[in-house]
């Protein structure tokens, strides 16, 4: 186990351009992670992820797109201080690499920056991870979501 970074790989039975959309577009992102996502999916675009809802509007976490090379690679930094530009050492870097594979896509995710950011970042990640609880959260959301998807002609 490599401390200080997280690496995962998953095979998705969908074309790379579809998977790229799902990992990069704010509309898709909020279906699999935060409650709201405000950014443009273009390099350098700074925005925020919002966790939680309610009267206080939830907790906003800075989010900055680093690279977007459809349909092969998408990376972003998050958790940097709101008044600072995202850079190495003040944020966690998440990179998605997409490789076409047997009619589907091999999706690789790495998250780095824990070593530079320290323990606090890992605790922060933990706080924002399980506001959802797997299928309890996901299934009720997915069905109405898929029903709204635009069907390509």
């Amino acid at each position: 186990m490599e401390f200080g970074s997280i690496e995962r790989e998953i095979f998705v039975e969908a074309a790379p351009d579809i998977v790229f959309d799902v990992v990069s577009s704010p509309d898709h992102l909020k279906q699999w992670w935060p409650d709201d996502a405000r950014y443009e999916p273009t390099p350098g675009s700074a925005g925020e992820l919002v966790f939680g809802r309610g009267e206080d509007g939830g907790a906003a976490v800075p989010f900055t797109v680093v690279e977007a090379r459809p349909p092969r690679m998408f990376s972003f930094r998050w958790t940097h201080p709101a008044d600072e530009a995202a850079r190495e050492g003040n944020s966690l870097l998440v990179t998605f690499d997409l490789t076409p594979s047997g009619g589907g896509t091999l999706l690789r995710m790495t998250e780095t920056g824990f070593r530079e950011m320290g323990w606090g970042a890992a605790v922060l990640e933990q706080q924002f991870q399980e506001h959802v609880h797997g299928w309890d959260f996901f299934l009720p959301r997915l069905a109405p979501y898929v029903a709204t998807l635009e069907v390509s002609p």
Partner: protein, 120 residues
């Protein structure tokens, strides 16, 4: 211990374990049960002095415990502290497992929707 101090200790623990040489040293200590700067230095491409310095870092954050033996200090891994560090990162890893499963389901649902529409 105040919250601020606890946080500082945690940050130090994290950066202690983030160094590849120190992780290798922890591996060696876990496999061999114990070791000194001399025995570890023989198995690593760094000087005995560098090993001693790394052991000092690990000792300060509680990842190893030392007992004096003659002119040297013998080190063992502190299992509880190591487990604590590992658990923290594992929980972040499982969060990503859940996110990636959701990404997979969404992308595959879109793929099926597109295929269905092409067939009709």
């Amino acid at each position: 211990m105040s919250a601020a101090v606890a946080e500082k200790v945690d940050d130090d623990l994290w950066s202690a374990i983030g160094d590849p040489t120190r992780r290798r040293m922890l591996d060696l200590l876990l496999v061999e049960g114990e070791g000194t700067a001399t025995t570890l230095g023989q198995q690593l491409p760094v000087t005995r002095q560098a090993v001693a310095k790394h052991l000092g870092v690990l000792d300060r954050v509680g990842l190893v415990r030392a007992t004096p033996v003659g002119r040297e200090r013998r080190y063992r891994v502190d299992d509880a502290q190591l487990a604590r560090a590992v658990a923290q990162l594992s929980s972040v890893g499982s969060a990503w497992d859940a996110r990636l499963q959701r990404i997979k389901r969404i992308a595959e649902a879109i793929q099926r929707t597109q295929q269905d529409s092409q067939q009709h």
